[in-house]
Amino acid sequence: MFAYALRRILSTIPVVLIVAFFVFSLLYLAPGDPAAIIAGDQATPADVERIRASLGLDRPFVVRFADWFWHIMHGDLGTSIFTNLPVTHMIAQRIEPTLSLMILTLIISLTCAIPMGVVAAWKHGTWIDRAVMVTAVFGFSTPVFVIGYLLAYIFALWLDWLPVQGFTSISQGLIPFLRNLILPSVALGLIYMALIARITRATMMDVLSQDYVRTAKAKGVGQRGILFLHALKNAAVPIVTIVGIGFAALIGGAVVTESVFAIPGLGRLTVDAILRRDYPVIQGVVLLFSFVYVLVNLAVDLLYTLFDPRIRY
């Protein structure tokens, strides 16, 4: 198991390198010019050229890629064209808000979605099942920004319970931290919640029709025991899979959520960098996301062994 995990971690290196090459190539081919943005609207073409040269953007593709790759190999993601700050510093500044948003979203989503799916499967065909499914369809089909604005209007502007925007570090207290993150986490988590609830319901319905469940009932095992000790554990593999796959959706959703709630996270950093063509930042963030995504998939694979002892690596 340990050897497998190590192999998988090592196998992320070529994946990340391939991603790095593609990201660099795409950005090189993509139109846009950071020098023109820096110089501003009133700058002369000559000024734009001088700035481009000073940033090294006039060098050939191979030279730029080799230079960038050399620095990557030494753990240096480069320096932002616009802020003149190291990309690692900018990522470090932004990672806490994004990580906090992701974790809280996961907690809220899983805490709500799994019981919802289990209850819907248990009460299959009843109004409870239908209510859960309607909620899931609503969550799945409503864009994050609509939910975000709606929640902000109700809980911040109308009820005046929570702030509209911003982020407070957990180091400044749990309550201020949660006050800022609850609305964005719920907004972002709704689609995730819907996805997991639907999968949980479908898988549980399948598991609940299995013979061993009937046997457990016959032996007098209580309803709660059947659902949560026997059935849910056996339904866990597809649920864990969807949690992993949904992580990519979560990253995409975080970009929108961070913009709507003005959270200074990696999503906003990425959007700002793309709009300004801040190449080192875009490359750094994409590398980070691809690495994290690979690690999440590894975690999912390892979790399979926990829920299903038949799976061995």
């Binding site: 943005i37 820096i38 501003g40 002369t44 925007q165 913009s259 003005a262 709009l275």
Partner: protein, 530 residues
Amino acid sequence: MHRRDFLKTAAVAAAGGLAAPRIGHAADAKVLRFIPQANLANLDPIWTTQYVVRNGSLLIWDTLYGVDDQLTPKPQMVESHEASADAKTWTFKLRPGLKFHDGEPVLAKDVVASIQRWMVRDAPMGLPIKKRTDALEAVDDRTFRFRLNQPYPKMLFALGKSSTPMLFIMPARIAATDPYKQITEFVGSGPMRFKRDEWVPGAKAVFEKFEGYVPRSEKASWLAGGKRINFDRIEWQIVPDTATASAALQNGEVDWWELASPDLAPLLKKTPNVAVDIADPLGNIGSFRINHLHPPFNDVRARRAIQMALSQPDYMGAVVGDDQTLWKTLPGFFTPDTPLYTEFGGDILKGKRDYEGAKKLLAEAGYKGEPIVLLVATDVAITKAQGDVTADLLKRIGMNVNYVATDWGTVGQRRAKKDPPSEGGWHIFHTWHAGADCVNPAPYTALDASGATAWFGWPKSDLVQEKIAEWYAAPDLPAEKKVIAELNKAAMDDVVYVPTGFFKAYQAWRKNVSGVVKAPFPVFWDVTKA
């Protein structure tokens, strides 16, 4: 305690805690929370000409002169100046007691180094001064001198200009940085110091009161007079989404929003604790920028066809909506309600639009239905709105439109290409010019018609250039007005570009904040918060 009671108690406590009144909610009168017009991604006002950088720099760095609300340059760091009778030697003396944020005194050598860096990057005014300068020297610690080989009558205006790049005074060691490279230290002598340790680009920038700053004794007026700061901290919060910014202002999470969206202004006006007013009285001029190098627009008749068909109300409606207090038509190139404003020569932009006449002119210019490459930056609301109106206009006059929807970063790159439009070049793009840059020809890059060295589109008109030169030499305001009227007509006749109208924007602030003024930049001095 029973389990259910415990859960109930915990839930109530959690809800109560989360819904507790915001700590510091508008309570700290010494902190001003401000949403700027854009992200403050860097702080070198010479390296980049973005307005948001200029606005942040106004807090950190001081200027030799500053324009007041009458657009007159007034001494700021300078105590006095003296010009020789032939206007070739200018001697300036600095105020006593000027200090940088690191405690070092501001010396004439710092000023000389700052001017030298600025001159290289300021094409409209700095470079012409540089070309005329035989010597720029520090006479003593508080005195510096220009020795010119020919007079430059607009010297004070140049040293105090508010358009970018502005002349900010930095320590000589910082000003020695290559003007095409970014500075790495943000040490100034302005009223606030930059808290670099709290800077999160794209999210937050913090300025802290500089106790060593000695304001002038005069009343503040825009960039002139005493810059008295009434806050310990000014926090810039970057809120990219306008709806969120509006809600944050309504909720009291921020105090002042520099550029309130016109769509949300009606809502903000109804909010009891929020005040809404025009941000910049000098507003902006919308621009229909034409490439003069390639057919059909290398023929002035094709450019005039656009002028006679273009409806400014259509453009302004698309840019700022139904609020008619925010815009007016502009049959001229200069900022309305400023001393040099003129409509002379602008009749072609007035009255009923003549589509048939435009079609006829296009035919005379040899247009035969070739695709017209229209670059539209769809990520910028103003350019997107103008681009959509233009696409409709071009179709109405029988042109074949190739609508290139892209982002501003791409427009910024592609507009620099002089290649034919069919080979990656372009015919038309849209932008807008700050009214503060269009009050006279000096900062007005877009009006330059010098051909290959002109701004994108590369218009060439000897008459326009002649009139600009005459303005520089004009001895007084009446003479300037006469020349500007002729310049306006010459630029209209050659169709250097087509103004799409004059528009303003709103700013909004909490009513417990007072002293907010209308200006082309946020003026933080004399603002207070109850």
